[in-house]
Every structure is written in C-alpha cells, then in structure tokens.
C-alpha cells in the first residue's frame, strides 16, 4: 500500500491537530508534519487542505508580517474545527484499533 495515499487520508486530521496546538503558518505546519513522519505528503496537498478547511469554517487565518520576507498567513482552529478534530480523532482511534487487530502479528 502506498504510504503517501494512507497519509493523505488522514492529512486533514493531522493538519487540524498541528494547528490545534497553537496558531501557526503553512511552512511551519509542513515542517511539523514532516517531523512527525508525514514526509510523503506533498506541499501542495497540505496547502490545498488548509484552504479546504478554511473554506469549511474549521480554520481562520490572518496575515502577519514576518522577519524573513513577505507576510505569513497564520491559521487557527475555530470551534467547528475543534469539533471536527474531536470527531476525527475518535474515528481514527476506532479505525486504528480495528486495523491493529487485523494486521497485528
């Protein structure tokens, strides 16, 4: 099974989880995801997911000046995003547990 495809399936949940830790911006989200092992997920997928979550009302954003260049777009989780994260986390635990029982040696 292609790992990148598996990761993409939970990317929305992962992005919400990263932003739920505190307001952050795109490149930092990418770096956090890569550090957490989401290396196979493309940058475009993360930025596309950010846009979709924002359009759905799960994220808010604001532009803030950066020290290293142009203004950065900072994201924060909304109440509906928090709810989405909770629901997704429950679903993930359920699936993970079920799958673990099937694939465990």
């Amino acid at each position: 099974v292609d790992q990148a495809q598996l990761l993409k399936g939970v990317l929305e949940l992962a992005v919400l989880a990263v932003i739920a830790r505190g307001e952050t911006y795109g490149y930092e989200i990418l770096s956090t995801l890569e550090g957490a092992g989401f290396e196979g997920v493309g940058d475009a997928s993360v930025y596309g997911t950010l846009r979709r979550l924002e359009q759905a009302g799960h994220l808010t954003s604001r532009l803030a000046a950066s020290d290293s260049g142009p203004a950065r777009k900072y994201y924060a989780v909304t109440a509906s995003g928090t709810e989405q994260l909770r629901t997704g986390t429950d679903a993930w635990k359920s699936i993970s547990g079920a799958l673990g029982g099937l694939v465990a040696p």
């Binding site: 993409k8 990317l11 795109g26 490149y27 493309g42 940058d43 475009a44 997928s45 993360v46 930025y47 596309g48 997911t49 846009r51 979709r52 359009q55 290293s68 260049g69 142009p70 203004a71 950065r72 777009k73």
Partner: protein, 254 residues
C-alpha cells in the same frame, strides 16, 4: 526553473478558477517558495508545476470549471468591468453612427405650389400642365422637420424637367401654407416642428430628350439635400400631387 516561472506555470494550470481563488492560491505558493531554504530545487521538492497544481486542486476540492461563466469569473474583475465598459461604449458608438447615418426627419408638410394652368386628373391622383416654351414656371413644396433635432437644409439637387428655374425659399412657419415673400435660397437650419416652402421659379425651357414632343415629364418629389452632424444626404420630399408636364406634339424643340 525559477520561483517566478514555477508560480506562473502553476497559475496557468489554475486559470479556470475564479480570479480571487487563484490569487489566494498563487499568493500562498509564492509565500511558501519564499520560506523554502535557499537553493531548493523546486521540482524535486514540489513536483512539476503541473503536478503541484493538480495536487493543490485535489486537496482543496477545486474542480476544473468550464463555460462562459467560469471564463468570466476567472478574469480579474477590474478587467471584466473595463471590457464591459469598452464593449458598451463601442456598441453605443456604433449605434450612434448607425442612427446618424439613417436619421431622416424631413417630410412633406402638406402644402405645395403648382405651375399656372395646372389641371387636376383626380382619377389618376395627379395633375398635368402643358409645356409652353418661355412661359413662367413655378413649382413648390413644403418641408417639415418632424424629428427632434435641427438639421441644415442645403438645397435641392438637380431636378430634371423641361424648365430652367432657380430655387427660392419662404420664411420658417408652423403651418404648411405656401406663402411669400420668397427669397433666394440660402442654406438654413430647420428646427424641430418648423416648416419651410421651397419653390422652383423660372420658365419652361428646351424640350430635349426624353421630353421630346408628345412625351411628358413626370415630377413626384423634390430631392432636398440636408446635413446632420457629419452626414450630408438627399431625401425626396413629395409634391402635393404628382405633376406631368406634357410636351405637345406640335411643340418645336429648336
């Protein structure tokens, strides 16, 4: 590939998206490229611009859009407005030119002046008069400006008939009667609602072909020339009744 090239190619791949959406995505990409470490080989990290655009579109749930509405939404609103204004202005200009080119407000006011000894032929709804070489000849009609704008009446084009005459005019009036005094014609402005009589006054003269003895010259209107803005044209203003100038068989032309 440079960052600018990369962004341009991604923007091109997203050209079907509404302008505001594309601007946000492209702006986000530009910001992202600025964050990448110096010397990053873009296509190695991000894939080709085409792949990046496809992944971005898929992750954001942005389907490819087609049709006229999508085409217009994909344009920058300011450009759409400018194009619409330009098209509207062009259409109005064309319409204005066509209107001017077809504007013809002159019409017969209802009054006329016949040559002396004219006889009516009611059955044919016409009149006739016998040609008498050298005798006085006069023929007139009334012109009314039925439009909403003033036009300049320039004269009467050559009227072919067995007579020589010069063009006279009466004062501007509001009724269609043909009343003197008549003065030598000079171009004049005819305001909306105004009426003027135009009279050809002279003598019967010559009887060259096609008005040889035994034939008739038929006159039904006068070709009045007028100008409106840049356009000069001729319109035929009817006489009170069609007039036949009968050249007798015994008439000698020479």
């Amino acid at each position: 590939v440079t960052a600018d090239d990369y962004v341009s190619r991604v923007a091109f791949e997203l050209r079907d998206l509404p302008w505001g959406v594309r601007r946000d995505l492209v702006s986000g990409l530009r910001g992202h490229l600025d964050e990448l470490p110096e010397g990053t080989y873009l296509e190695e990290r991000l894939g080709t611009p085409e792949e990046y655009a496809a992944d971005l579109r898929a992750a954001a749930g942005l389907e490819r859009r087609r049709g006229v509405v999508a085409f217009l939404l994909a344009r920058r609103p300011r450009n759409v407005v400018l194009a619409a204004v330009a098209l509207t202005a062009t259409g109005l200009a064309i319409g204005f030119v066509v209107w001017v080119q077809t504007y013809q407000p002159l019409s017969f006011a209802g009054g006329g002046l016949d040559p002396a000894r004219t006889r009516e032929a009611p059955a044919q709804n016409s009149e006739s008069v016998v040609f008498h070489k050298g005798r006085p000849f006069e023929l007139g009609t009334t012109v009314e400006n039925t439009g909403s704008f003033t036009v300049r009446v320039l004269g009467v084009a050559d009227v072919e008939g067995p007579f020589t005459a010069r063009l006279l005019m009466a004062q501007a009036r509001r009724d269609p009667g043909v009343h003197g005094p008549f003065t030598r014609f000079r171009p004049f402005d005819l305001k909306p609602g105004e009426i003027r009589a135009l009279v050809l006054k002279g003598v019967y003269a010559g009887c060259p072909s096609p008005w040889a003895p035994g034939t008739s010259a038929i006159l039904a209107s006068l070709p009045v020339r007028f100008a409106f803005l840049w356009r000069t044209t001729t319109t035929r203003v009817p006489l009170l009744q069609q007039l036949a100038i009968v050249v007798p068989r015994r008439q000698r032309c020479r």
